[in-house]
């Protein structure tokens, strides 16, 4: 009985996940990026608790406080850290709420696009032949058009609105997932474990999603990180152009657009600070994404 060792008291054994974590932590820059992103995400989630003012509650706004520079104090006493916009909204509060919409749209569309793209990519790799050719031809066709153009076409037909933007982003992004997943799945499906699963006469849906998909995850995670950053940037661009989210739900891009007309008179802060927030968000995600790519890339594995 002396040889019985409880699982919890085992010495730290090298699992793939632990190796992944320790390799990820090797880059200090990526850790900083991750920390900043987590902070931004928390700030967006708890926006209503952190923000000194609810920018949607008209009772809290004072039009007399419109376009105040950063650091001015309001008529009721507190300081507008980053100034106010043309409606007398506190920029800091507006940005926290805007971040919520930007992140929500970016992450939400990435999840749906990943689901659609992964499913089609797996199906293409599994069945091959005509199905594969049809799906990949569609992917090639779509990727031959720049993302902003595809999004523009969809929004020109559907009109603005949060759901329409999410839909446009899904249509823009799915092809990247499909292409990546198909390429990985083509390699994986020749492995012995897939052959074993086929010999067990498992239904193809089970093989695809329980056996093939988990082994295609590493490149999928890398693509997903990059696509979240791209989606946030594209949403901001579309909203800036006036095609994205409606004025009642301003994202960071729309906040920047609101400040555009006041910039020529030197009131820079309405556009400047939301842009900084957008930049920090995108760069932090990209830093994490770069390190993930280096760690998960089989060609660079040590």
């Amino acid at each position: 009985m002396t040889s019985v060792v409880l699982p919890s008291s085992r010495p730290r054994e090298e699992t793939p996940f632990r190796r992944f974590v320790s390799q990820f932590c090797e880059s200090r820059l990526a850790l900083v990026g991750l920390a900043v992103f987590v902070l931004i995400a928390l700030a967006a989630i708890f926006a209503s608790l952190i923000a000194p003012q609810n920018p949607y509650d008209l009772a809290q706004l004072d039009i007399m406080d419109a376009r105040l520079p950063p650091g001015s104090s309001s008529s009721v006493g507190y300081t507008y850290l980053l100034g106010t916009d043309d409606q007398g909204r506190d920029m800091f509060s507006g940005m926290l709420y805007g971040l919520r919409i930007s992140l929500g749209v970016g992450v939400g569309s990435a999840i749906f696009a990943a689901a659609v793209g992964t499913t089609l990519g797996l199906i293409a790799a599994w069945f091959g032949g005509k199905i594969d050719a049809a799906i990949m031809r569609l992917v090639d066709l779509q990727l031959s058009f720049p993302s902003i153009l595809v999004a523009l076409m969809i929004l020109a037909v559907l009109g603005k609105g949060v759901m329409n933007v999410v839909l446009a982003l899904i249509v823009v992004e799915w092809a990247y997932y499909a292409r990546t997943v198909r390429a990985t799945a083509m390699v994986e499906r020749r492995r012995e474990y897939i052959e074993a699963a086929e010999c067990l006469a498992l239904p193809w849906r089970r093989i695809l999603f329980r056996h093939l998909l988990p082994n295609c995850l590493p490149p999928l995670i890398v693509i997903a990180t990059q696509q979240v950053a791209r989606a946030i940037a594209l949403e901001a661009t579309l909203s800036f152009l006036g095609l994205g989210v409606p004025i009642t739900e301003p994202s960071l891009g729309l906040l920047i657009a609101n400040g555009y007309q006041y910039m020529l008179s030197g009131k820079y802060w309405i556009s400047f600070y939301p842009g900084i927030a957008l930049l920090v968000t995108i760069v932090s995600i990209n830093l994490v994404g770069d390190q993930l790519r280096d760690v998960l890339n089989p060609r660079l594995s040590r």
Partner: protein, 324 residues
């Protein structure tokens, strides 16, 4: 080669047909064509007359056929706002966009190649590291925000450059161009630089990677051993081998530069196609939207076709693949 070309042409035509179906469905089935094609100011009798002339009382397949026949005749409707044929409007704005896009592409080579060359030759230099870090920013920065900041610094704070518009133009081949006047060039500098930002980063990284790859090669060692001056080795032997991939990629990027001009034109109020489409979407000037979408699809299918053909001519490896 001929069989491949014909297959590729059929494919291109198929894409255009598919796009007409999608645009048709978008306008006639998802949206209400009466709202889409008739100005909201029209009264009841006027509406009935237009519905009859436009054939909106016809079955759907006939409507689609009419739409295609009209499109083939270059008749894509009249703008509600300008009361001019939509296609004419777009054709008028096209030179401004092309001028901006081509300048941006040239700028990306003029700025990107020397910086990339420097970063590749002296990879551990502090300036090189700064250049590389800057190129990451070039990929991450939202273009429209950089444009705003450029206006803020150079137009509002320093007052060196005009903030928006196209400035004075001069005619050439019956078209008005900004690059022929000093005032036009001053107006063009900031938008072109803004549009070029992404491509500068791209060219810079490509050039640097190319230099790192070519420097250890035998023919460079041989050129040095032969006693050629370092300048000649770099500017003739290294540069010649880098420029092929760089020019290919930049040529490929011309299409997306035209597409992304939508953003830059909106920021700098540059009167090109991109600004026209955004304005049209915002005031629901649907004939212009439809015409723009058809034009841009045609443009992209043509660009993709030309690039594919050039590839097969320039790169023997692609040709072999097709024969296999």
């Amino acid at each position: 080669m001929l069989a491949w070309l014909i297959r590729r042409l059929i494919q291109a035509i198929f894409v255009i047909v598919a796009m007409t179906v999608i645009v048709f469905i978008g306008v006639h089935v998802i949206g209400n064509p009466v709202d889409v094609l008739i100005s909201p100011e029209a009264d009841q009798a006027e509406r009935a007359r237009i519905i009859a002339t436009l054939g909106l009382d016809q079955p759907l397949w006939r409507q689609y056929l009419l739409f295609v026949i009209d499109a083939l005749h270059g008749n894509l409707g009249r703008s509600f706002v300008f009361n001019e044929p939509a296609l004419t409007l777009i054709a008028q704005r096209m030179p401004a966009t092309m001028e901006l896009a081509v300048t941006a592409v040239l700028l990306s080579i003029i700025i990107g190649v020397p910086l990339g060359l420097f970063a590749g030759l002296k990879p551990n230099n502090l300036i090189s590291r700064t250049i590389m870090a800057g190129s990451i920013l070039g990929f991450s920065l939202p273009t429209f925000w950089v444009g705003l900041m450029l206006i803020m610094v150079f137009a509002v704070q320093l007052g060196w450059l005009p903030s928006t518009g196209r400035g004075a133009t001069a005619p050439l081949f019956g078209v008005q161009w900004s690059f022929l006047t000093w005032d036009g060039l001053r107006h063009m500098l900031m938008p072109a630089l803004n549009l070029a930002l992404f491509n500068i980063s791209l060219v810079l990284r490509l050039t640097r990677a190319g230099v790192r790859e070519i420097l250890p090669m035998d023919f460079i060692k041989f050129a040095r051993a032969k006693g050629l001056s370092p300048a000649r080795v770099i500017f003739v032997h290294v540069l010649k081998n880098i420029l092929i991939p760089v020019v290919t990629v930049v040529g490929l990027e011309l299409g997306s530069t035209v597409a992304f001009a939508v953003v830059t034109e909106s920021v700098f109020a540059w009167p090109g196609m991109g600004k026209l489409i955004i304005d049209s979407i915002n005031v629901l000037d649907r004939p212009v939207i439809v015409a723009y979408l058809m034009m841009i699809v045609l443009l992209f299918v043509t660009i993709n076709l030309i690039v594919d053909i050039l590839y097969t001519i320039l790169d023997p490896r692609v040709r072999l693949e097709h024969k296999a």
